[in-house]
């Protein structure tokens, strides 16, 4: 019986062994540890990483370059625009300066042309028959044709009497307001003075005063009287 038992035992052992071999062979095989392969693999990975980094670097560099170029282009454009702006501004400034200069010149010319009134406060005056009045149209101060002839005559007399100074009175008719007529009488006296200056009479021989509508020569209220009252009257300064 023991022999049988041993047989069985041996048979079981055999089965167990073969089963274990089988199981063993079925279990996943452990990878073989190959040091060299690992090293190689690692090197390759590192290389790859480096390449990738380099690539990234290059890309970044390119991008930066591109951005820089773009920036530069923009900067250039900006500068150009600025330059253009400056040029335009300079031009405008120049134009403005020119305009201002012209305007100033014009104003100056006007001012030079504008003769300032001169008054004879302490003077005594008299009428002389050689100096005739001139007359004006309603609300006008320009010298009429008939006035020009009279002023020429008056100027001739003044040329022949170079020591005499005169006062021109500007007068208006009653058909205006006292306020406006005061200024209108002034304008009539001044335009008469300017005309005499243009005929060669020195400005400092001519004084002016406006009496507006205050001293009519004819107090009536007719077209005739009004025409007489719109006048520039001449007085000789005696003292």
């Amino acid at each position: 019986m023991v022999k049988n038992n041993v047989k069985y035992l041996l048979a079981i052992m055999f089965i167990v062994f073969s089963v274990s071999i089988f199981i063993n062979s079925c279990a996943p095989k452990k990878p073989k540890v190959d040091q060299a392969a690992i090293m190689k693999e690692q090197q390759r990975a590192a290389e790859e990483k480096r390449l990738k980094a380099e690539e990234e670097e290059r890309r970044k560099f390119d991008e930066a370059m591109k951005a820089e170029q773009k920036r530069k282009a923009e900067e250039e454009k900006r500068l150009k625009a600025e330059e253009e702006e400056r040029r335009k501004f300079d031009e405008a400034m120049k134009a403005e300066q020119k305009r201002k200069a012209e305007e100033e010149a014009k104003l100056k010319a006007e001012e030079e042309e504008e003769i300032k009134p001169q008054i004879a406060r302490e003077a005594e005056t008299k009428v002389v028959p050689q100096l005739d009045d001139i007359h004006f149209d309603f609300d006008k101060s320009d010298i009429r044709t008939d006035g020009r002839e009279i002023l020429q005559k008056n100027a001739d007399w003044l040329q022949n009497n170079p020591d005499i100074k005169i006062q021109i009175e500007g007068h208006c008719d009653e058909r205006g307001t006292a306020e406006y007529n005061l200024a209108l009488g002034e304008r009539r006296a001044m335009s008469t003075k300017k005309y005499l200056i243009s005929l060669g009479i020195s400005a400092d021989r001519i004084y002016t005063i406006s009496y507006g509508e205050e001293l009519p020569i004819d107090p009536n209220h007719s077209e005739d009287s009004w025409a007489k009252n719109r006048r520039a009257h001449f007085l000789v300064i005696t003292k």
Binding site: E110, E111, E114, I115, K116, P117, Q118, I119, A120, R121, E122, A123, D139, R175, G176, T177, A178, E179, Y180, L182, A183, L184, E186, R187, M190, T208, I209, S210, Y211, G212, E214, L215
Partner: protein
Amino acid sequence: MDKKSEDRRQKSEVRIKSFFFSVCLLSSVFCLLPSAFADTSDVYLSITKAGGAKIKIAIPDFLVQEGAIDRENFSKKSSEILTNDLNNSGFFKTIENRDILKEIDAKDKKTGKINFNEWTSLGAEILAKGHITIEGGKINIECRLYALKSGEQIIGYKYGGDRTTFRQMIHKFSDEITYRFTGENGIAQTMLTFVSKVTGNKEVYISDYDGQNIRKITDDKSISLFPKWSPDGKNIIYATYRYRNPDLYLIDVADGKKTPVSIFPGINAPASWSPDGKRLAVSLSKDGNAEIYTMDFDGKNLSRLTKSRSIETSPAWSPNGIEIAFTSDRGGSPQIYIMGSDGTNLRRLTYQGKYNDQSSWSPDGNKIAYTSLNGGQFNIFVIDLVSSKVQQLTSDTGDNQNPVWSPDGRRIAFSSNRDGKYQIYAMNSDGTDQRRIIYLEGGGYSPSWSQRIE
């Protein structure tokens, strides 16, 4: 009374007193010492009616103490002045029948009490009574107001003065009544200044707002033009040819002292006060033609506002001080323009009419009255600054010029030659109730209306 005899009457009243006298008179104006001696409650508006209905007031002749010199005259004059003032105010209607007033007043005196029922039966709502006592040239007036319906005394006032301030005392009472019942300041204490040729030369005159109490304040024996009251009523600015040029002078109304303000060669007028009385806008031609300048009222700190080859004149400072209206012919004919008081924001105001000048702002600043020349005749127009609507106030009555507003904006004074020579007239600001207020043989030109002078 026909017109001629009325003219004579007015003339005889106008005594051109010596300058010294007018000085006394004016200075004494400032010495009036009113004092309330009864109920001084605030504005009493209970009788004021809507719709512009007038308050009816009975004013019997004032009672004057027995034995006083000129008793009748004082008694009549006082009620006359007050009646006229209150009718002028536009708020009141006075009871006309003087006989009945006299009768009830006599009854009051006899019974020693106010017969409220009888006064009410006249249709009156208020009764104004005055009692005058005269002692050695000093005049005291005690004034009382009664509400007739409730039968109570509303207010009483005492005024002290003399013959020269008699009218002012009554004017003051009138303004108190107006203020009591309307809350508005009356114009009975305002004054006029104007130009007249009484002496043969144009000189400056002043008068009470009602054309009474006329006094000459210049003696330049030359040509005086464009007098304008300063806002405080103490000075008048005017143009004079006394020194052989149209110069601008300031005259102190109380002492008659004259000070040169602007004496540049050429024209120095007309001028207009800034509302604070510190600056003047003036038309000057010193630079060759008439332009608008501003300067301090003593002529300092000159500033040029306009620059053109045309005429710029007749400046008028707006009541808020921000703008100046003026006349310019830059567009070919005289028209009214407005600019800022620094010369900026220029705009043209008038487009209607070929010749417009003499602008005058209404006290509220909403309107400008001006003179327009059309068909050879001057007439007064008012333009609304908001709507630009133009209203003609005078027509078919000769020439009408120089409009100036009363400080309450209800009346406009002007000069008109409708009865021959130019004289001073006044009308409501809508053109109604046109009345001559001054008649002088020498005529009346260029009026200016003062603020209230107390």
